[in-house]
């Protein structure tokens, strides 16, 4: 099975507010707020760590959930965020990743 890599889209604006990310789309200035799980994905999306590792290290340790279910949900969430151009997805590491430092 191929692995999925995710990177923050450098064209968005982002800031953490009370532990949740506010993201403004670079495409159409729409505003999104990410829930806790999506915020974990966003913060871990360094372009180099595959999704299954993020899920194992960051999500399964935080929530009581079956790893396979967590991975499926996380992939669905990542694809949704990618459809809004918040995340970039690839089956290969994203070495050119130039994502910003969102605090």
């Amino acid at each position: 099975m191929s692995r999925l890599y995710l990177a923050r889209n450098p064209r968005v604006a982002a800031r953490a507010l009370d532990g949740e990310m506010m993201i403004m789309s670079g495409r159409d200035s729409n505003l999104f707020t990410l829930n806790k799980t999506a915020t974990i994905l966003w913060q871990a999306a360094d372009g180099l760590t595959p999704l299954d590792e993020i899920v194992g290290r960051r999500i399964c340790s935080e929530f009581e959930v079956e790893p396979s279910v967590a991975l499926q949900d996380a992939e669905s969430l990542a694809r949704d965020l990618a459809s809004h151009e918040i995340l970039q997805l690839s089956e290969h590491p994203i070495p050119q990743f130039n994502g910003g430092v969102a605090r």
Partner: protein, 369 residues
Amino acid sequence: MSGLMQEVTAKALKLNIPLNVQLDLTYRCNERCVHCYLDHDDHGEMTTAEIKRLLDEMAEAGVFILTLSGGEIFVRKDLFEILEYARRLMFCVKLKTNAILIREREAQRIKELGVESIQISIYSHRAEVHDAVTLVAGSLKRSIDAIRFLKSQGLRVVIANVLMTENMNDYAGVRALAEELGVECTLDPTVTPMMDGDRSPLRLNIDQNALQKVFRDPALVGNVDEFCAIPAKTQESDLEGLPCSAGHTACYVSPYGDVYPCVQFPLPTGNVRRERFVDIWRDSKAMNEVRSIRLKDLTTCPQCSHVATCTRCPGLAFMKGNMRGPSSQDCEKSFARTGILSANMLSKRRTLPTLVQIRVTSDLTRVMA
């Protein structure tokens, strides 16, 4: 403001987060607009390194929307270095500029950096009027060329049209120009005093008749009857409201590092060259005083029928001498909109000195005007 942005703002207010900051990078400018509130000398602008450190502190404090303005931001040679740094910190960056230094290359760079929007001042669709405001020949053409460069990059451009005596008949033309260019357009009928308190620019404010015309133009306000409606009876809960976002979720930083509640509210609260931004935001006595004021604490406005719907600017009130007092320019606007005098206007009428005095001198009655 979108529903989600309202929610985010409410959360920021509760958590005391400065969500929205305007940072003026310089007061130097390549135009000399007749209504400008700034002096254009450099009194010691922050260096590139100082601005980068400030941006770090702002990101740490939770600032999300960063408006870079001036003066003219493009006269700073390090603008793109600052922009790049700000975007690396993932601010939502908005620019305010006259755009006359933006050509194809600059527009492309702005696009690459993911700037959210560029607000450009246009005073008229006619060069003879616009250039007479900016006092720079050819400035309208250069600004419009820049808008085209920016639009060709797919960027969001907003024309800002300040309405004053010099251009009061041209706003429809500016709106038509905006439509032709495919950009948004805002109109502001308020000329403000200079930041040093000089009130001479106020002579350029349009009069009541012109204001009434603007407020009754459906192309600008939508439903005129609704916009100009007589205000509903004030509820007690209205008086618990905040005067505006200044000092609550927004503030302003000058090119010299001075922090004010807003660009129109020059109350010194601290300087980022001496203190951390977040310490000024959270702990400044002046900032906390601004933050403590509710509509019920104002001197005249709680008795005014407009209190819940007025656009009262606490900064303009401050520049008139009392941040808890009325802002006369907004009283004028409420009156122009609804035909109802504000409490401030009524009290002034009551205290106006008698214009005609009758003095008896022996058996002769003289009338003095």
